[in-house]
Amino acid sequence: MTVKRQLVLAPWIFTIGFFAIWEIICRGFGISSFILPAPSTIMAATWEYRNQLAYHAMHTLWMTLAGFGLAVVFGLLLGVALGASRLINAGTYPLLVGFNSIPKVAVVPILVFWFGVGWVPPVMTAFLISFFPIVVNVATGISTVEPEMEDVLRALGASKRDIILKVGLPRAMPYFFGSLKVAITLAYVGSVIGEQNASNVGIGNLLTRASAAFEVPLVWAALVVLAVLGVVMYMITAFVEQSTTGWAQRSQMANA
C-alpha cells in the first residue's frame, strides 16, 4: 500500500478503532449505560431520536453560522484596523485580551437581560467567542509585512492603503483561514452555551432538557451529533483554505 493511500485511510481506521475499543471496554467491564453508554447504544439512541436531533441540530447550525459570519466580518475589519495602525493596536490590545478572558457563559445572562430568551443570545455568544482569533491573526498577518517590501512600494509613492490592499491583506489570508478553523469550532461552543442557557430550541437546549430528565443515551447522541457537525464544518473551512491559499503551504512563508 502506498504512503498516500495509508494517509487517506488513517483517519477512518483511527476513528473506527476508537469506537471499537470504547465498545469493547463497555461490554467487557459491563459498564452501566447511565455512566458510559456503548457506541452501539448511542447509535440506537441517535436513530430513535433522529427527527428531534435533526430539528435541533439544524437550529444550532444556523446559530453557529450566523455568529461565525458576524465574527468573520467584524474580525476582518478589526484585524485590518489593528494591523494597519500601531496606535489602535497598542490602544485596544488590553481591552481585547481582557474581554477575551471573560468566560462567555458568564455573558449569557447579560444577553438575556438585553435581548430575552430566543435566537439572539446563541448567535451573540457564538460571535463573541469566535471573533478574537480572527482579529489577532489578521492583525498579525498585516503588521508583519517585510520592511523591504514596504520600502519598495513606499519609494514608488504607495499609500498605506495601497500597501495593505496589495500586500498586507493577501499576506494575511493564510493566517485568516488558519484562524477560521479555530473560530468555527469555537462558534459551536458559543452557540451551544447560548442555547443551553437562553433558548428553547437547539442542541444545547436539548442537552439541558435531556440531562435534567436523565436521558443519558440522548445526551450522548446529542454530543455525537455536535462532534460530527463540528468535523464537517472544520473540513469545509480547511478545504476553502487549501483552495484559496495553497501557495502559503509551499512557499517560504510556510517555513518561516
Binding site: 513606499r154 519609494a155 514608488l156 496589495k166 501557495w247 509551499r250 517560504q252
Partner: protein, 263 residues
C-alpha cells in the same frame, strides 16, 4: 552630464536611536546622471540609511538631498529598488510580481488595465534580458534564489526608473551565480542608461561594476574615500583577474581596514 543625486553635508539621526548617535554624518555624495556608483563600507556604516535618504523614505536632520534637480521632501517615485532578500509575493506569479510597481506608480497605474498586453510584453522582454525567458508564469517559490533575484531586478526596472537602488542584491547567492548576475546588471545598466547606486560589502563587485566608488566609515558613517574607476566599458569578467583590478581592490581594502580601525 549633470549631477543626478546630490547629497550635501547630510547628517541623519534616527528618532529611535537610543544613544542619539547619528547614523550618517556630514555626508557628501555627488553622482552623475547615468553613472554607476558603488558604496562600500564595514557593516553598520549607514549604507541602508543612505538608500533611504536618496529615495525619500527618510529625510535628513541636517543638510540637503537633491535628486533629479529637486530637493527630496517625499518618496521620489522615480526609483526602483532591489534588496538582498528578493521579497517576491508568493501568491502572485513571477510576471504579476514584476508588474506590481505599475499598479502603484503613475501614469502606469491608470493605464495598466487598458494596456495590459503592452506591459506584459515589456515584462517578458525584461525577463528575457535577465535570462528568465518564458518563466513568468511560474510562482516565485518555484524558482531558485538566483532566479528570484533576477526577477526582483525586473521588478525594480519595469517602470523605467531613473534611479536604481541595489542594497547588497547578491549577498545571499553563491559566487558563480553572483558573477553571472554582475554581468546581467552590467548589461541592464548599459542598455537602459539608468543611474545606479549599489550598496555592497563585496569590493570586487564594486570594482567590476562601478564608475565611482565611495568608501564609508563605521558608524557614524562618513565618506572616507572617493575613487573613480577607469576600466573601459563594456567590461569582461576577465578584467577581474588583471593586476590593475587587484590593485584597485587592494586599495579599497586599505580604506575599509582604516575605517574599521578608526571606529
Amino acid at each position: 552630464m549633470r549631477t543626478f543625486v546630490d547629497i550635501h553635508d547630510v547628517t541623519h539621526v534616527y528618532a529611535r536611536a537610543e544613544d542619539g548617535l547619528p547614523a550618517v554624518e556630514r555626508l557628501n555624495i555627488k553622482i552623475q546622471e547615468g553613472e554607476f556608483a558603488a558604496i562600500v563600507g564595514p557593516s553598520g556604516c549607514g549604507k541602508s540609511t543612505l538608500m533611504k535618504l536618496a529615495t525619500g523614505l527618510q529625510f535628513p536632520k541636517k543638510g540637503t538631498v537633491v535628486v533629479d534637480g529637486r530637493q527630496v521632501g517625499a518618496p521620489v517615485k522615480l526609483a526602483g529598488m532591489a534588496f538582498q532578500n528578493p521579497t517576491m509575493l508568493p501568491w502572485r506569479t513571477t510576471l504579476d510580481n514584476i508588474l506590481l510597481p505599475l499598479e502603484i506608480v503613475e501614469p502606469h497605474r491608470s493605464r495598466l488595465r487598458r494596456h495590459k498586453a503592452e506591459y506584459v510584453a515589456k515584462a517578458e522582454a525584461l525577463l528575457a534580458q535577465v535570462g528568465l525567458k518564458g518563466q513568468g508564469h511560474r510562482f516565485p517559490w518555484q524558482l531558485s534564489g538566483g532566479m528570484q533575484q533576477r526577477a526582483s531586478l525586473c521588478r525594480a526596472l519595469i517602470h523605467e526608473p531613473k534611479l536604481l537602488m541595489l542594497d547588497e542584491p547578491f549577498g545571499a547567492l553563491d559566487s558563480f551565480t553572483r558573477e553571472e548576475l554582475w554581468c546581467v546588471i552590467r548589461d541592464l545598466h548599459a542598455a537602459q542608461g539608468v543611474t545606479v547606486i549599489l550598496v555592497t560589502h563585496d569590493l570586487r563587485e564594486a570594482a567590476f561594476l562601478a564608475d565611482r566608488i565611495f568608501c564609508m566609515s563605521a558608524r557614524p558613517g562618513r565618506i572616507v574615500a572617493e575613487r573613480e574607476v577607469a576600466f573601459p566599458r563594456p567590461r569582461d569578467l576577465e578584467i577581474t583577474y588583471t593586476p590593475e583590478f587587484s590593485d584597485l581592490v587592494h586599495e579599497l581594502r586599505g580604506h575599509i581596514a582604516q575605517a574599521r580601525k578608526a571606529a
